[in-house]
Amino acid sequence: MSSLQAEKPNLKLLYLRLTDSAPLIIAHELGYFARYGLNVELQRETSWATLRDKLIGGAADAAAILAPVPLTLNQTLPSCEEQLVSGLILSCNGNAITLSRALYESLNISAAEDASEAPDIGAALKSFMQTRADSDAPLTFASVYPFASHTLQLRHWLASAGIDPDRDVRIVVLPPEQMVDHLRRGDIDGYCVGEPWNTLAVQEGIGVIATPSNALMPAMPEKVLAVTRSWHETNPATHLALRAALLDACGWLSDRGQRRDAIAILARPEYLDLSQATIAASLNDELITSSDHTPIANPGWHLFAHPQTEHGRPTEQKARELLALCKEIAQVDGGSAQLFRSDLYQQTLDFMRHRQLDSTSTV
């Protein structure tokens, strides 16, 4: 192994119960962390706000976090002097918008439209909303964090159907793993969340998927590996080892042939604690929009990073695109785009290439 002395070999990484937490779980289970001399403990969290604060507060070393979180830290933690940096986008896409079965049924979508590959549910929702009285309680949708790709995707979907996301509906924030329960209780009428929480609502017969996120915004950065700036400055080699191990795991996940094993691991009680059938859909690029529908192909539902593609590279351009979308929600600071560190990504690629050369030359 090429010389890499991790300053801090024992690490704690945070993640949420989501299919695209897979890179961390796979790197742990398949020994990629160990290969780079790291001893990693994974810790599952429930809410993005809690995960964010633990990371900032130094209760963990790194986390798989929503891509816009580092860019909008100033808005959610005003006057916090710490920053989050990212040198690796773990995955793109991975979400969907789900409506409650009750709301979907009141949209009166024709049988022919319902059976089509991509029924225009947005238009039907718009017409339905026009029939509602002003005194009716506004429809409530949930996202997982104020500045999340989910909020952006939900707003984009509503706006393209002519629905004003600020005036016509109410948008609240809920933890991903509580979405299905809130939908079942009728607290919310729909949500945008990462998999497997859309497929689960469909399988339980309480939700209908209106659209997967990749149909709205293709290859949108979703989860990034984030560390605090001070942690990065103290532990540059550890950070490099961490990125290399995770990029290996992402590469492994990009191979569709490995997905079956990934599904079995993710399903285990210590990780997602859900049935394999629920986790399988999105990892197999299969979209089941409704419990009475047959699966349709949705290629690229999860796009994991890979050394041979650009999906994993956190460029300032990608950061600026995300920030431009976040500006619709609230005033954001454009200067944060440089927290996406393309140079660190390049360093990972160079390191992995040298390491490969070293290992082939010694064979």
Partner: protein, 200 residues
């Protein structure tokens, strides 16, 4: 709870599902002169309570998923001016570090000075910490009780089976523990399992 007209004390909404801890926090805050508006055991109705009371600060367990409701209030609803923002003043990350350790998260009304609300949050942090210590010491006491119970049980079994005195049984346990480089508790547990099994 009345406020003095000159300088109204900072008003606080406390959300905590641990009733004992809530009482500790509420007691200290009130004693320090803060205006405790309401004490909720869950976030059910939190939006309504925030709109009704307009608190200067909302205090909530950092692990509570209900705090996401407050996150959404802070930014998502542009047209809804409910003034709640994440609190993180006083040296930024350091303050968050101690808040995370104590397990408190706090949201404060926009436009309020951090210096004004920080002492209240520090009181809450201190109470959260002493609650943690209280729980740990309770757990230790329970452990000691369990330990004493199993040792008494093992001694009883030894006395009955081997027909020896209480002191001899105690001595036997101690010697076994020392020889096997183990604790009295472990040895006692083994003896209980061993002497209880019908095969023997």
């Amino acid at each position: 709870m009345t406020t003095t007209p000159v300088t109204p004390p900072v008003s606080i909404l406390l959300v905590d599902d641990q009733p004992e801890r809530a009482t500790m926090v509420a007691g200290q805050l009130t004693a320090a002169g803060y205006n405790l508006l309401a004490q909720l055991s869950s976030a059910e109705g939190l939006l309504f309570q925030v709109e009704k009371h307009r608190p200067d600060i909302v205090l909530i367990d950092i692990e509570s998923p209900d705090r996401d409701i407050l996150e959404s209030l802070s930014v998502i609803n542009q047209h809804n001016p409910t003034p709640v923002a994440m609190f993180s003043a006083r040296g930024g990350a350091d303050f968050i570090t101690s808040a995370v350790e104590a397990g408190v998260s706090a949201y404060m009304a926009e436009g309020l000075s951090a210096e004004r609300v920080a002492p209240a949050i520090e009181i809450a942090m201190a109470q959260f910490r002493s609650y943690q210590q209280l729980r740990q010491s309770l757990a230790r006491t329970q452990q000691q009780l369990d330990e004493r119970k199993v040792i008494e049980r093992a001694k009883g079994l030894l006395m009955a089976r081997k027909n020896i005195s209480e002191q001899a049984a105690h001595q036997t346990l101690r010697t076994l523990a020392m020889n096997s480089n183990s604790t009295m508790r472990n040895v006692a547990e083994q003896i209980v399992t061993h002497l209880q099994s019908p095969v023997n």
